[in-house]
Symmetry: C2
Subunit: 221 residues, 2 copies
């Protein structure tokens, strides 16, 4: 291929940086989505284990023990809190990531297309240049090659300009996406843990009542 | 075997109830220990998943973004909180259950021994009665059988009295064990979730700062 001019080389190095950022951004997003999904699977598993442990207490709890009704209500409230935490994460953080990541495959294929069109453009330029330098000049062929070169350049430039415009915007958008994903996560976490702390306090209170009953019974015997 | 008298029958029915309670109590305890262990495995798994998710954010977080140091500190604090929650559950609830459950095998084997000694006692009583009812009375044999019967009764009664004394006490002790297991669990849960809620608020604050920086940069461009 013909050697590109100084300007072309600079422009291409700048574009390579855009592509490097794009790849980094896509990988980061994929990793984040994967880690979010694992976190949610762990939330689900801890919900199940917590439910089983509370059910175990509720099953052992005899009907005449103080706080039986409160305990049954607490088991349901705890279950509801876990469910809504999981649902909120799915509806907000995970869907936000899905929408964000859905943009990448189309842009990735346009980057690959630009690469192919650059090869076409270079090859048309090379062809035109070699015809011009040739000893027997066929003007018709040269005109045809120039026309082809113009077309190849136009196709490449259009894709190039589009991507040079879009990639930096996409790159900048990651900050907002991370902010909204983790802000939403942190917000749901904050209220989940706050409510869970209150429910734990309730469980503590029920146990205190049961202990009081136990001591009354002990003194009576 | 010889039919037991009315008093023996009543006494045995009462003992069967003690044994039924013992078995129920042992199964409940085993189930609780199992559910506690599963809960702790789930705590461990959610800790790991939460750590990976926060590490993912920390890895993406560029050094010149607002709040980088606060975020790194937050990741460590969150990790420490999870670790100490898990450790507290191990040290308190789980060890308390282990100690409680360790009593059961020895008592279970004494219940089985009492059962065998009851068979011996009944068989000695049967032997003695049939000698007494026999046509040709061998006084030496009868005296020997009476002595054996007395020994068999003594061995049985000792085990029986011990167990009749211990089983109701053990049965009553379950309430205190459930109280202390779940009170300790609820106490650790309460403070864990409370602290976790604060750390989530911190993460929210860091994200708000990052968003402010993003908006400043956007306006500058």
């Amino acid at each position: 291929l013909q050697k590109l001019g100084k300007a072309d080389e600079t422009r291409d190095a700048a574009f390579e940086e855009l592509v490097a950022n794009f790849t980094k951004q896509m990988n980061e997003g994929g990793k984040l989505q994967k880690d979010l999904k694992s976190y949610m699977a762990a939330v689900k598993a801890m919900h199940d284990a917590s439910r089983r442990l509370q059910d175990c207490l509720a099953d052992m709890y005899e009907p005449d023990w103080f706080g039986k009704e409160e305990l049954d209500a607490l088991v349901e409230d705890t279950d509801t809190l876990w469910l809504s935490y999981h649902q909120n994460l799915t509806d907000k953080s995970l869907l936000c990531m899905d929408t964000y990541l859905a943009q990448f495959p189309e842009i990735k294929s346009r980057i690959a297309k630009r690469e192919r069109k650059l090869v076409d453009f270079d090859s048309a330029r090379h062809h035109f240049a070699s015809l011009q330098k040739g000893k027997k000049k066929d003007e018709a062929k040269i005109a045809k090659a120039e026309e082809d070169l113009g077309r190849a350049q136009k196709i490449f430039e259009e894709l190039n300009v589009e991507l040079q415009d879009e990639l930096p915007t996409l790159w900048d958008s990651r900050v907002g996406v991370y902010v909204s994903t983790f802000q939403s996560l942190a917000g749901h976490q904050e209220s989940f843990h706050k409510e869970m702390s209150k429910l734990s306090q309730n469980l503590n209170d029920i146990m205190t009542k049961l202990e009081e009953q136990r001591q009354i019974n002990e003194e009576a015997n």
